[in-house]
Homo-oligomer: 301 residues x 2
């Protein structure tokens, strides 16, 4: 089987332009930046007007391998995007690219230098190390908490959650919970199902941390139909789960439930990716905590 | 309760230097880049020699709010790091910052321009949209699959996984599985516990997708002690779980089990953050699939 996000490294990579991403660390920073920038070329990526292949080289902390990669980029006509903490490695990358005519861009140097002058402190130039701080371990704990609370499990723990998500089936509660947990929030999600009473605790906990999710009925029906098919539901079960009358009725039922507590914001998830819904939830979450004039998410390093 | 990663927005933010992060989208790209760059200042962040506060402003897609934020940054002596897809917004940000003497850096423009000339295509300049592509839905499916397979559940599904992780308790199997699933891989994890037989299916599936995790016994003992305490284990249970003889014996047991299949690589997780272990796993995973001369992770856009 192919892993979804990368199955593509089995396809023909000779067509299209290549982007080499090089890091002395994990490469996740450069991958994220290139992914965002490629968003600006969706109009031509979608119809394959321009095909782009990215190649991630992580853990590149010696000059020899760095030069090999740049040579290969030159051969392939690729561009190189890099994050290299050691300034002499970064300088070598730039020079080699320029000599061999390889378009190149440093994703770490400029921001590091800006921050250095802002703080008036020199960067370490040291190799990548994800520090295993208390915050790190709290994040791991948040992930484990969140998994255990999935799908309405352990309602007696709702008061321990930072954020509680409530919504009907297929509003994305599970992946959204997981995404938020990776950012360090303990999340619980509670499914709203007609005929199934909600846990009492949902109404007893701090309402400031509860968020309702809602979705357009047509879109929900489409998603549920696909899911019912993939789960191999029988005709009968399927109709109850994904037929329009039922979908509408269930969303209306959810609306009434959520309205019982007017403090809970209702978040519309239609057409939003998990990352986008997460941004909305966290914006509201932090605003409510701070009632700041300018909505922001603050963090101390 | 405070959300771990951000609880800090309750502390005194007047001390230290501020970094304003501004995006017309979710802000996750600029947050990631600033986080990586701050890694270069760990030496002075750790002992609070320099305190840094970050403030994330997401969904900033009108000039008025953008100017308000920059004005506030000027007042606070903050620097501004931004990702703004619309070139005229980016230009306004730069100009306003320069007029008000605010150090600033564009995290999207330079890479977008490099890619534009490499592809010979103009960037859309359009607002952020996470496209809900097939790949997106496969990622969501991978997350849901992975949660259901946690902690050895549903061994009959191991053949459906892209990656299977095996290791003793507290080697980070669960958070690592989740991290990989967000990248689109279907992951299953199987705990190795003395006296509990492993599922037969583990030995029947493609061995190229199985990875063993191991850890230094001293470090494992420390982690387990903390966990036993937080779970409120009784003295007796605790000693069996976290005492040194038991820990060593269990790791040795795991070593023998894992050695039964020499194709499975053993990954040392001691001192590594989940993100780092994930980089190691994926590097191996893609190398084995491609036997490339130069280890890389490739992807088509
Ligand atoms: N904590 C840190 N200490 C030193 N360098 C770091 C740290 N975090 C990130 N970096 C650097 O940031 C870049 C991106 O890291 P990565 O996302 O792991 O590829 C690499 O060049 C790393 O060397
Ligand atoms: N698919 C996309 N289409 C257009 N712009 C995008 C896309 N993905 C990312 N961007 C831009 O990339 C920057 C980072 O996005 P974000 O991580 O959501 O803050 C923002 O300025 C977005 O406008
Ligand atoms: Mg769910
Ligand atoms: Mg586990």
């Amino acid at each position: 089987t192919l892993a979804a996000s990368d199955g593509d490294d089995d396809v023909d990579m000779t067509a299209g332009k290549s982007i080499y991403m090089v890091s002395d660390g994990t490469g996740w920073t450069v991958e994220h930046a290139v992914g965002a920038a490629l968003g600006q070329f969706e109009h031509c990526l979608v119809d394959r007007g321009c095909a782009v292949n990215t190649h991630l080289f992580s853990g590149i902390d010696d000059l020899e391998r760095l030069m090999e990669i740049i040579k290969q980029a030159a051969k392939e006509g690729a561009m190189v995007v890099y994050t290299l903490a050691d300034p002499s490695m970064a300088e070598s990358a730039k020079q080699a690219c320029n000599i061999w005519g390889v378009p190149n861009i440093d994703m770490l140097g400029p921001i590091t230098q800006s921050i250095a002058s802002h703080l008036n402190v020199s960067p370490s130039g040291g190799p990548r190390k994800y520090p295993l701080t208390d915050e790190y371990f709290r994040r791991i704990e948040a992930i484990e908490f969140t998994i255990k609370q999935d799908d309405g499990a352990l309602p007696q723990n709702l008061h321990k959650a930072d954020i509680v998500l409530a919504g009907v089936s297929r509003t994305g509660k599970t992946p959204l919970s997981i995404y938020l947990s990776q950012k360090g929030y303990k999340v619980a999600n509670v499914p709203i199902v007609m005929g199934v009473p909600l846990p009492e605790t949902l109404f007893e906990i701090d309402p400031e941390k509860v968020f309702g999710l809602t979705i357009n009925p047509l879109v929900l029906q489409t998603i549920r139909r696909a899911r019912a098919k993939s789960l191999g539901f029988s005709e009968g079960m399927r109709s109850n789960y994904s037929e329009m009358d039922h979908v509408r009725e269930e969303l209306e039922y959810a609306r009434r439930i959520l309205a019982r507590n007017p403090v809970w914001p209702i978040i519309e998830v239609t057409g939003k990716a998990i990352e986008e819904t997460a941004a909305v939830v966290l914006r509201l979450y932090h605003d409510r905590k701070h009632k700041c004039s300018m909505p922001r998410i603050s963090k101390r390093y």
